[in-house]
């Protein structure tokens, strides 16, 4: 059995998590889809003082000799879920960043060529080559 004070502290922690997460979503700092797991964590923390006797029962019936072990197990599984979701997101984000970076770099090179040819109109005229880029200068110089 948990003493009243720790229970109250856990409840406060849960409320704090909920408030912070809700506020972050409200300010659009945290996206809804990432907030859901954290909100769930907040709700579980908030309600856990009420359910702790129940949890103790459950833990004993599942063969846990030390009930908090079940709590910790659940917490670890929850955190694993959250980090896994983050890893997935990170992989996808990196793929997107790579694509954008490449696109940006190629476009910027194009733009610099256009700027250059705008300054020297002669360079802009299509020549007998397949390319009118200065990179062909490489072979002329």
């Amino acid at each position: 059995m948990m003493a009243p004070l720790p229970r109250f502290l856990v409840f406060l922690l849960g409320v704090a998590v909920l408030l912070v997460v809700i506020n972050l979503v409200r300010r659009r700092t945290l996206q809804e889809r990432y907030a859901i797991l954290w909100l769930l964590a907040g709700v579980v923390l908030t309600l856990s003082p009420v359910f702790i006797p129940l949890l103790d029962h459950l833990a004993f019936s599942m063969g846990f000799e030390y009930p908090p072990a079940l709590l910790l197990l659940l917490a670890v599984v929850g955190l694993l879920l959250i980090t896994f979701q983050l890893s997935l997101t990170l992989s996808r984000s990196e793929e997107r960043i790579k694509l954008l970076t490449q696109e940006l770099a190629i476009l910027r090179q194009q733009m610099e060529l256009l700027k250059l040819s705008a300054r020297q109109p002669s360079a802009a005229k299509p020549t007998e080559r397949t390319h009118d880029e200065p990179d062909t200068d490489f072979n002329n110089t």
């Binding site: 990196e94 960043i97 790579k98 970076t101 490449q102 940006l104 770099a105 190629i106 910027r108 090179q109 194009q110 299509p126 020549t127 007998e128 080559r129 397949t130 390319h131 009118d132 880029e133 200065p134 990179d135 062909t136 200068d137 490489f138 072979n139 110089t141």
Partner: protein, 251 residues
């Protein structure tokens, strides 16, 4: 960007040099490459360098594509492929900008592809003259991966890590937007090419020590490299088994 077809030279060729902080090596490497491969357009993919790589390359007359952030070797090379595809090049040669690759190999590789003998020509340092050192972990890993790829593809592969390659337009398209690993294109990439129906041939070339600077495979990195490679190869095999791999022409 479209290639204009006013006039068609025999084959429009591009030399791709991925470069990360290579300002000190470029003044030696670029003219050397240019002398060895006249008629090639040259693009330096400046992979978010913190030194004057872009300025140096530009002053030496190369086209420069600067990645605003460092993507790593694979990401830089793939940018070169995209550049090649968008400009309509029919053949591209990838060569390190650090002086490891002897520019004499450019023609050996490109001609093998240009003659239609193969889709990708890989410069192998082990078939060629050996002038090179490697950390032992990486060397062991490379041997193992080479053996694996050789067995699976039925062709002898001695140097799957070689970044000295010539590719035809089909392969460029295949790699330009997808199918190319971000960090180290390697044995897994060769396997992927094989399963996608491309022909891969090794050509002996000479490789040398870096002119200056730190190689990307130093310190603890060989261990990471071997692990990563093992995972990548397993994944290519798994994909081949579980669903249709991207076939040639699908690109």
């Amino acid at each position: 960007m479209t290639a204009s077809f006013f006039f068609m030279p025999s084959l429009h060729r591009l030399l791709i040099l991925p470069a990360y902080n290579e300002a000190t090596n470029l003044p030696r490497v670029l003219p050397e490459a240019r002398a060895a491969a006249p008629g090639y357009d040259v693009v330096v993919i400046n992979d978010g360098s913190r030194d004057a790589t872009a300025e140096v390359a530009r002053s030496l007359g190369a086209a420069v594509v600067t990645l605003p952030v460092n993507l790593g070797y694979g990401g830089a090379v793939q940018t070169g492929f995209r550049y090649a595809v968008e400009h309509g090049y029919e053949l591209a040669v990838v060569m390190d900008a650090d002086g490891q690759h002897d520019p004499a190999g450019i023609h050996l590789l490109a001609d093998t592809v240009a003659r239609g003998e193969t889709d990708v020509a890989i410069g192998s340092r082990f078939r060629g003259r050996m002038a090179y050192h490697q950390p032992w972990v990486k060397r062991m890993g490379m041997k193992l991966f080479a053996w694996t790829v050789s067995r699976l593809t039925g062709r002898e592969v001695t140097d799957p890590t070689s970044g000295f390659q010539a590719l035809n337009q089909d392969v460029l398209r295949f790699f330009a937007y997808d199918n190319y690993p971000v960090d180290y294109p390697d044995a897994d990439t060769l396997l992927l090419l094989h399963y996608a129906g491309f022909r891969v041939t090794e050509v002996p070339v000479t490789m040398r020590e870096r002119l200056s600077g730190v190689s990307m495979h130093s310190g603890w990195k060989p261990f990471y490299y071997v692990l990563k490679m093992w995972l990548a190869i397993s994944m290519v095999l798994l994909r081949e088994k579980t669903h249709l791999s991207p076939r040639r022409g699908a690109s």
